[in-house]
Symmetry: C2
Subunit: 137 residues, 2 copies
C-alpha cells in the first residue's frame, strides 16, 4: 500500500494525495466500516470496559447474534478490538479495545458529540423540510 492510495481532503487547495472518491480505494471501504453504527456502538462500549459477547448483545438493543459476531470479527480483523477466549465450560469470550481502536474512538466521539448536541437542529430542519415538501403537493 502506497501513501498515494490515501485520501487527503483536509487541504482543498492541494490535489488530493489519494482518492476515496475512487470506487476501489481501500480507504473508502475502511470509511464504510468505521462509520457503521454497530461498529461505533461496540467501540463505545468497549472503550468503557472489556465485555463479554452476551453482555454486548444485551447492551445493544436490536442487534442480532449474527450481526454482532460479524461486526466484532471485522473490528478484530482491522486491529481495533481484541478477543480473549477463556477455557471455561462453556467457553466464555471477552472483547476489549486496542490502542488503535481507542484512537479511532476519540475521533468518533466528536461525531457523536455533534449528534448529541445538534439533534434538535436536525429535527427542526426535518420538520421544515417536510413542511415544504407537503406544500409542494
Amino acid at each position: 500500500m502506497q501513501d498515494g492510495t490515501f485520501i487527503s481532503v483536509g487541504h482543498p487547495q492541494e490535489t488530493p494525495r489519494g482518492d476515496a472518491y475512487a470506487r476501489d480505494c481501500p480507504t473508502r471501504q475502511l470509511l464504510d466500516r468505521i462509520g457503521d453504527k454497530w461498529s461505533v456502538l461496540i467501540l463505545l462500549l468497549l472503550g468503557e470496559e472489556e465485555m463479554r459477547f452476551s453482555r454486548l448483545k444485551k447492551r445493544i438493543d436490536g442487534i442480532s447474534q449474527k450481526m454482532l459476531s460479524q461486526t466484532l470479527r471485522s473490528l478484530e480483523r482491522d486491529g481495533l478490538v481484541t478477543r480473549h477466549a477463556f477455557a471455561t465450560v462453556p467457553v466464555t469470550v471477552s472483547y476489549g479495545i486496542t490502542a488503535l481502536g481507542r484512537e479511532l474512538l476519540a475521533a468518533l466521539r466528536l461525531m457523536i458529540d455533534w449528534a448529541e448536541t445538534r439533534m434538535p437542529d436536525v429535527v427542526e430542519a426535518q420538520r421544515s423540510f417536510d413542511g415544504r415538501a407537503a406544500l409542494a403537493h
Copy 2:
C-alpha cells in the same frame, strides 16, 4: 424531543442520559446516516465548494444516480446541505453545505484523518488476522 433521548457516552462514570443503544433512539438513526460513506464523501466535496449534481456524480466514482439523489435529499432534510435550482433550460441544480453541515464535517475530518494516517496499521492487522485464520484451518 427531550434531552433524555440523547446518548451521552463521554462520561462512563455517569448513567447515560439517553440511549443510542436502544433500537428506536433517533440518535442511532442519525449516527447511521452521518457515518454513511456517501454522506461523508458528499460533505467533503461540498465543504470545498458548491457543486452541481452532475459534478458530484462525476467526482464520486461508482455512486448511482439514485443513491446520489437519495443521499442529497437525506442530507438536505437533516439541514446539512442546501439545494439551489436555477431556471436555466434544462434546470440546473447546485448543492452547498450549511453551517450545521460544516460543523459535522469538522468532526468527520478527524475520522478521515485517522483512516488516512492509520490505514497501514489496519492493513497490517488484517494480514496478521488472516494469517492466524489460515493457520487455524
